[in-house]
């Protein structure tokens, strides 16, 4: 019974990974691709869980931890890189006041 359920779960998780890959390949913006990459990483951890259930071993748990860490770090790296590409604009920041004063002087 558990073998049949593991096979069904493998098929379902493979389908979810294919949907995430479709979003990665055809995402309109970069953020959609990042989200799809995150979904693919989590689906891969789920497949490791299923493999570990099928083989009845606990040796893959550390590898699951490392893979979840890698997916998280990849997402955070992409997001923080894009975050620095957009200049921060708050009305209380010093650069904003400087630019506003410069614009007033040019007028």
């Amino acid at each position: 019974m558990i073998d049949i359920c593991v096979t069904i779960s493998f098929i379902i998780l493979g389908l979810a990974t294919l949907l995430a890959l479709r979003r990665v390949f055809s995402g309109p913006s970069v953020l959609d691709r990042i989200i799809g990459f995150d979904a693919g990483a989590i689906c891969m951890i789920g497949m490791m869980v299923l493999l570990s259930v099928r083989w009845k071993t606990g040796l893959l748990i550390e590898i699951m931890l490392i893979f979840s860490l890698l997916g998280f770090v990849g997402t955070i790296a992409f997001v923080s890189y894009l975050n620095t590409a957009i200049p921060r604009q708050r009305k209380s920041s010093a650069a904003w006041k400087e630019k506003k004063q410069k614009g007033d002087q040019s007028k």
Partner: protein, 109 residues
Amino acid sequence: MIREIIASLLLVLGSSLMLLAGIGLVRFRDPLSRAHALTKATTLGISLLLIALWVILEDDISGLKILLVIIFCLLTTPLSGHMVASLYYRQLHKKERPPENAEDSSRSE
């Protein structure tokens, strides 16, 4: 026997939640709603899968390590969703700047 029944139920439930997250990822129209669909469903799905592994292994040390993985997933998945959502929010409100900043933004991209 009862262990296998509980574990298989949790496995099918968790992977169905992951499939729901994938369907939401494809069907929704906005990066905000996609991140919303992905974050909650995959957090619960991966937790259910790991609990199923805990039930099937019958081992205390592996159970503690699985608890560590569950806590790590519960910490990191909502955080990455929040980062993506805040970045999209800032990209959405990028154009509401005065015109003397507009040429700066076009240069930096």
